[in-house]
Amino acid sequence: MIRIQKLSKTFDRTPVLTDLNMTIQTGSIYGLIGVNGAGKTTLIKNMSGMLRGDGGSITYDGESIWENDMLKQSIGLIPDDLYFPNGYSLRDMRSVYSGFYENWNDDRFHQLTELFKLDEKAKIRTFSKGMKKQAAFCLVMATMPAYLLLDEPIDGLDPIVRKLVWKTIVNDVADRQMSVLVSSHNLKEMEGICDYIGILSHGRMLMERELDSVKHDLHKIQISYGKNTPEQDPFAGFNVLRRESRGTVELMVVKGSIDRIEKTIRATDPVIFDILPLSLEEIFIYELGGEDDEISKLIF
């Protein structure tokens, strides 16, 4: 488990992270969402041990990351700004990484380069931006990290490769209980991937939610009574976050137990009663009231 407590970081008196608290459970994928300048990259650099916070702590299963080379053996980082020494091929990079990481898995590396169809002998500087991302992904995943830190990982990747990347990550999470932190400035990218979502704004954690519990609590309902509209509002006793009428059909987002809602509504004999899937952005819009400018920036 990665635990961040009261983490603060200032760049020349400008606060970048302020009293940040965050927990990433073992074997889960945590989506860190924030607009540009929210502090995502700084947080990841602190988590990778490159930067040191001015206050607070970052621990991996109770161990501090700062100058902890043994712990870093189990951390894989793919930064937004990639680095490969000039003139190096993937094969050269393989020998660098394999020398540093004791868990280096050569077979895995070859499997991944084959999966992404990357030429190990070609100079990396000839690769496109997306190919460089894939190369970094192959190298990092071959170190068999227990913790994976990804800063805007799918930026520049085509949809097919994105799927492959996510598939590999999800498999590792399932097979090896790998803990993953993924940062993005777009909520849509996190759809269907993350177990937890945290929204970072101006260096502070605006909100942090486990998606299963949010989804379990929040429901999008489509309902119509035709001409037989009941005299009393059937939703009177419920927490309705949003209500929209389209002719005789009403669309609403309701918070509460789905069993209770369903039982109550079915008793009023509606013509149409559907429970629709909620997208991630809808969850956050309704959860936060939808008025927050920060949230709208993340969604649109």
Partner: protein
């Protein structure tokens, strides 16, 4: 399936990585060393006498091409091995790898050092292969100043490798410190040059201040410190074959290298990498560098412009243009330095104004001590009761250095210094003059008080009546006359390396020729006796005539068996040296 066989250890992997990426640098260094040192010997292997001077300069460590090459390579290698710190992407990747900063520094430092020293060892081996080259017996007779036919010895090669390694390690260490302080590769290189050159520049500037504004500052003290400040200047300023004893300063340099490296390593663990795009990652260091650079540039500009707009003067007149230039240049240079340090042209803030204010205060204090001599350095004359002995070094005497101990002589010297101070406006001030006078008081409390003065021509025009009178008193004293004589004891004569008669004569107005005749050792005693007889009859006017006529006389030159230049002296012959001339003519050395 886990394939751990490729794993070494992060430290080893980092060494390996550095060697793999930068192997070309030691190759370049080796090729350059080969071109500078080995190739000339190879090309002249059979006629080594043609290359003897150059080869000895190289092997004895003061070949400037070698020194420049080693310094450049040290800075280049340092910039290369620590380049990863200055890139955002590289710093992120490298510092997230399973290796501590201490190990990273150690790996970078030692891999760079090994890459710098291996070419030196290889060049040493090639020198060894060239050890068969030597001067032929016939040529040996014609090469003046050497009795050695073979200089490429194992001992000389080992010393060369050692001294060169110390130079390269010293510059490399300072460049590494610069690399840790700098926030970009360009600033790394500039700061490496700055840190390595800083001691020389500061010493030279302090020397210039003292020389220009301190009347009586002993000129030979600063160059002495200057040569010891770094192995680079030490090697560049030395001459002759290095002896084992001369290697002792290198032990101090090695201690400095270790201390600076430990400090740099500690500093590296404290760097805030987010500041890497700034000129300097430690803001306080950036402020110090701004102040130092401003001070250096201000001083150089001030001294250059002030000396060109006003004649040398001992009073405040010289200082006024200097101070005006200093104020103007300080503002201008500080602004430029601040812009570089802050990375912006928007430097006009209260904070920067406050920093400049601190600089002004520091410079004002410095000027109070130098330009305005608030400590009274120039006027300091010891009390006769506190002086144990005094040494006089003057061109007006035959002996280069004369030690005087009697109370009367000490009083005379103190009177001379007081006379010089009272007539100081007439003395050459801040000028290079061959007519220097140095007084060294050995005080009873164990301290030494030294003063040097450049003397004007003593023909009475400048009205140096008191100084001339004081000089005459010294020359008339029995102790001075005795101390000015040549030692004619058997042991002293045995220590004479060479005694020669140099006769200079003009063929026409523009062409002068000199002829040297080596005096036979059997004539040493007689000649010295004759010279002493003349010295006892000569007064101050006789000596000043020789100086005033620019030593344009035949001379007897004496060199003792010692490497110190102080052990060389010349005795000039004119109408007041009748006994010496008579002896030389009688023994057939003076035929014309």
């Amino acid at each position: 399936m886990k394939s751990a066989n490729l794993y070494s250890s992060p430290s080893k992997a980092w060494y390996k990585e550095n060697f793999r990426r930068f192997w070309v640098l030691p190759l370049i260094e080796f090729l350059a060393l080969f071109l500078v040192n080995i190739l000339p010997i190879m090309l002249n292997y059979g006629r080594f006498e043609c290359i003897y001077d150059y080869a000895s300069t190289s092997l004895w460590g003061y070949n400037i091409a070698n020194i420049v090459l080693l310094c450049s390579m040290a800075i280049v290698v340092s910039t290369a091995v620590f380049s990863y710190i200055h890139g955002v992407a590289s710093a992120t990747i490298v510092h997230s790898m399973p290796i501590t900063r201490r190990e990273l520094f150690r790996g970078s430092f030692f891999s760079g050092l090994v890459m710098l020293i291996i070419p030196l060892i290889l060049t040493g081996i090639l020198f060894l292969c060239m050890s068969g080259a030597h001067i032929s017996a016939d040529a040996l007779k014609t090469i003046c100043g050497t009795s050695e036919y073979n200089i490429i010895t194992i001992k000389a090669i080992c010393i060369w490798v050692f001294e060169s390694s110390v130079i390269v390690a010293f510059v490399y260490t300072m460049a590494n410190l610069a690399g840790i302080l700098a926030g970009s590769r360009l600033i790394h290189v500039l700061l490496a040059l700055f840190i390595n050159g800083l001691p020389f520049v500061l010493l030279e500037i302090f020397y210039l201040y003292e020389d220009n504004f301190f009347f009586g500052y002993p000129e030979d003290e600063s160059p002495f410190a200057f040569s010891f400040v770094s192995p680079v200047s030490y090697m560049a300023s030395k001459f002759g074959r290095p002896e084992i004893a001369e290697l002792y300063p290198h032990l101090i340099y090695i201690a400095v290298i270790i201390a600076v490296t430990l400090f740099t390593s500690w500093l590296y663990t404290r760097i805030k990498l987010e500041r890497e795009r700034n000129a300097c990652v430690f803001p306080a260091v950036a402020d110090i560098i701004c102040v130092l650079l401003t001070f250096i540039c201000m001083s150089l500009l001030g001294l250059l412009i002030a000396s060109s707009v006003s004649d040398i003067d001992n009073g405040l007149i010289q200082r006024i243009p200097f101070i005006i230039v200093c104020i103007a240049s300080s503002v201008f240079i500080y602004m430029i330095c601040r812009m570089i340090a802050d990375g912006t042209t928007k430097i006009f803030s209260k904070v920067n104004l406050k920093k400049f204010g601190i600089y002004v205060i520091v410079v004002a204090v410095f000027f109070a001590f130098t330009l305005f001599d608030i400590t009274g350095y120039q006027q300091r004359v010891p009390e006769a009761s506190k002086v144990a002995s005094v040494t006089l070094e003057t061109n007006y005497a035959v002996q280069p250095s004369i030690d005087l101990k009697s109370g009367k002589s000490i009083d005379s010297i103190i009177s001379l210094q007081k006379a010089l101070l009272s007539e100081y406006k007439n003395q050459g001030f801040g000028q290079v003059s061959s007519d220097d006078l140095t007084i060294r008081y050995q005080l009873k409390n164990g301290r030494t008080l030294s003063r040097s003065y450049s003397l004007p021509v003593y023909n009475g025009k400048h009205g140096n009546i008191k100084t001339t009178e004081a000089f005459k008193n010294i020359f008339n004293s029995a102790e001075f006359s005795r101390a000015n004589l040549y030692n004619t004891s058997a042991s002293a004569i045995k220590s004479i390396a060479e005694l020669k008669f140099t006769n200079t004569y003009s063929k026409n107005k523009d062409y002068e020729e000199s002829e040297e005749t080596v005096i036979a050792s059997k004539d040493y005693y007689g000649l010295l006796k004759a010279m002493n007889k003349d010295i006892l009859t000569m007064d101050f006017n006789d000596f000043s005539t020789i100086v005033n006529n620019d030593y344009d006389y035949p001379s007897v030159d004496l060199r003792l068996n010692s490497r110190k230049s102080m052990d060389e002296s010349s005795f000039y012959l004119n109408k007041s040296t009748k006994n010496t001339i008579k002896y030389l003519k009688a023994t057939g050395y003076w035929e014309q």
